[in-house]
Symmetry: C2
Subunit: 582 residues, 2 copies
Amino acid sequence: MLRKGRAQHQGAAAAARGVEPADLLVTNVRLVNVLTYEVIPGHIATRQGLIAGVFHTDDAALPSQEVLNGAQRFAIPGLVDGHLHIESSMIGAPAFAAGVVPRGVLTIVADPHEIANVLGLSGIRLMADAAKDLPLDVFLQAPSCVPATDLETSGAEIGPQEIRKLLGWDEIVALGEVMDFNAVLTQKGRAAEVLAEAVKRGAIIEGHAPNLTGGDLAAYIAAGVTSDHTFVTPELAEERLRAGMTLQLQLKTLAPETIRRASALAKSLNLCLVTDDVMPDDLVRTGHLDHVLRTAIRMGMDPIEAIRAVTIAPAMRFGLTDRGAIAPGRWAHIVLTKSLEDFRADYVFHAGRLVAKDGELVVPLPKYEPPEEARSTVRIPPPATDRFRLPARGRSVTARIIQMRRESTYTEARTERLPVKDGAIDWESSNLCLAAVFERHGRAGTVGYGLVRGALRDGAVAMTWAHDSHNLLVLGRSPADMAQAARWVVETGGGMAAVRGGELLGSVRLPIAGIVSERSVPEVAEELGTFRRALTTLGFTHTSPIMALGVLTLPVSPELKLTDLGLVDVTRGVIVPLIMEG
Amino acid sequence: MLRKGRAQHQGAAAAARGVEPADLLVTNVRLVNVLTYEVIPGHIATRQGLIAGVFHTDDAALPSQEVLNGAQRFAIPGLVDGHLHIESSMIGAPAFAAGVVPRGVLTIVADPHEIANVLGLSGIRLMADAAKDLPLDVFLQAPSCVPATDLETSGAEIGPQEIRKLLGWDEIVALGEVMDFNAVLTQKGRAAEVLAEAVKRGAIIEGHAPNLTGGDLAAYIAAGVTSDHTFVTPELAEERLRAGMTLQLQLKTLAPETIRRASALAKSLNLCLVTDDVMPDDLVRTGHLDHVLRTAIRMGMDPIEAIRAVTIAPAMRFGLTDRGAIAPGRWAHIVLTKSLEDFRADYVFHAGRLVAKDGELVVPLPKYEPPEEARSTVRIPPPATDRFRLPARGRSVTARIIQMRRESTYTEARTERLPVKDGAIDWESSNLCLAAVFERHGRAGTVGYGLVRGALRDGAVAMTWAHDSHNLLVLGRSPADMAQAARWVVETGGGMAAVRGGELLGSVRLPIAGIVSERSVPEVAEELGTFRRALTTLGFTHTSPIMALGVLTLPVSPELKLTDLGLVDVTRGVIVPLIMEG
């Protein structure tokens, strides 16, 4: 993390007065002043990593070591992403920086709750350490819901004591999204205790309030939670802004009417644009926060309002008064672009240093070597073929079925009558997939089984990137393929594999905590491409196939899901048996 | 200071959902939402001191212990004053609360630099202790310039070490106004060291940048200072907002054009209204921040913009996210008024409790007993008559004269040829006043002498309320009267006295640190009235007579001033002799 000290402020002050030369003078820009809603021609002087001054007349131009002609480009502050999970892109912080810095993103506030579910506090420490000395300022949130519920076995739990520790870290600027909103409303359970600790310490508390409205929304906010980044309708957007929440719009939420109505109400910096989860191949193909910014503007958001929503607004949300605007004394995080309507980062300056140009990084990034502990998190032997069997008595049984949907990651709960053969359910003849979730953190040795309709038609997949506890999910039509896919993932130390007839069709290696690669974004994107194509080959068609599989294990995502403890009736929040009585 | 905990958030959340009754329901108000620029009819529920929820439909109304019909009044958040000095009103925090709470002011951020000049850290502790359990939330700033310069002897010095301590106090939310802007620009002197310490600790740093512009202003901000409350023209106001400063407009700065242009640029909550210094009799007669608010609106400021400038904007400036808007989870600091254009606080609720109605406090205030140490700060014997004599040799001398002005607290430096009689300057025959400043903190025993034209025609005054070091200023036409006025002030433990021909014409008792009364605002205002009238009787006419005398001793106020170390040439920042050579 960057640190400002007296020397820097002294240097910037001396350069502002012309007493000492500036380090860099960026001349002839159209400066986007996000504080005053103005675009004014001028020159920007930087010194010791800070903005020394902004000058609007030529005769005020200062002596400088270096001069760059902005050539009438727009100068905007470095982008700030106020809500995301680095692990969603399946990469570590350095690779993430390489992916987003050339797009103008220079500050992120990340919630490391995925890696925390595997490694606990040491996973969060790893994220902080991996982010050191990057041309990307990484702030973290203390994950509030690890694990998401008590209906699964994660690698670690984070309770009030851990939260107290985390909130004392320099890198931590908030409590991460309080997903367990039921715990907040009823004030029962671990999330309520965690929230109480954060409230006591006066922390900024991030929310996750899908569809909450009226008294429930007021209660959620009154309890101390003050932002929301989940999908909202225009009405829900207005309600959140009126109630003093910071509204964080992500790609799936963007719609012209939502933008229009939210913009009309958000004169107080309470409107932000965020990314949340970006798949590595999407990052390569469409971009990151820059893509959200372009999309919002294309949908009618005023460009300056939109730029505020990715700069000063998220900076203010987290009390980061040292950035978010091009003004004296703030970090010289500057992006030059030819167009506001079609934003592209031509030049990217981090703390006054040119770090990317025309979409390419121009500085080397430090290497980060994760600790050995982070590489050995799949702590089970590969499950043998005979583990993919559902013993049953009699001639047939009524079983609960997870019905997948094509355009949603939510599932439906169904029941079917299935034949029993040789003392086990004959799921193979019924065109169903068997799913098994193996606790893989070396804690419980538990395994949960389910039956899934609407997934693969053939072969098998295995993955340790399985929200939120990231146990080993194995899903398939053939016990032999399932065992082989699982073996590949276990032996790789984590990842995703698709197998058919003994052949590995596609795979992603994620050896860090079983969810993160050590490679670059384009490399991971390419691996992920093989896996995506394999899924198609295996007959799985879905608008978001990776995520649909990855949240099959998420017990806060409706309607019937599977953890290592068994099938979860999400609506009721309980474990239910696979085979129904009677 | 108020403290929120889990129980309060739980209670508010339960009331929002209707699970438990609210404590208070204020129905039928026109709610001024300072976050969204809207006025919407609705009802406000409070519980455990917090806003539980705001409901805009009647069927959402909640069960409540108590109901108050708002009768279509406007509901606005409790006023927040982001820059003031309590000591300027010559009273302690409880009396101050009694004066401002009925006017709707419920939060203040005070810089206690006056008392700090007398008592150092224990004076600041006294201010914090005196403010406990009031229906007014008092936050403090760590005074940055104690004393203002090295050209005087104050009762205490505050350096970087003290600042480090102060910034760790719960009550301290910022570094107080960095008045010594020359020290900031040159990075030399105590103020530069103090600033460096505050920068290192990431503190919010308050400014005082009279007339700074261009590179100097950029340098001042680049050095870490991010607000200004001094007088500004419309151009200077725009420059400050563009450079990311929080602009704090006080009464003397308010002008239609300044308001119009500042409002047009300040969509980012960087525009505040503040009071700075309010004399006790002005407070009684015209009001406090409510008066500034009314004046701004009368001069054309949009009422909602103006209300933002006294609520959410100053709250955000100091990171006080728990107030500034009527929204769930925030303190239930609510003011009801019949009119926005002519704001009057009909009902004032502090943390959900009715504390004032129709301009009258309706709750008792706690007593505060200052420590004995604070009552014995005039640590010199009364100066005898023979101290008011200026020894000189020869038959005449050329002396420096302080020429007072009628409409400004600035003075002019003049010289005059004066006769010498019996080994002393014969100032009495020249219609001049003799001025003497006695160090009174028991530290140096120093005394500085000056000659003043344009002050009293008769008699004498003495005062320990003399910025910023608050030494004993004695000024007059007659040594006997001067000695008598000084004796009264010394024996009273501090205050102001006006004497003529042996008779005490008017006086103000300020026994706490020699600058603060223990009485109520109306009582102090009445005492001050006797002193004001006495000044008129003694022939001193000035638009701001008390302040003009009170800053005769302030070595950062142009042009020639007097401290216990002698005459100060303010422009050059040096001590100069009374009698000129040659």
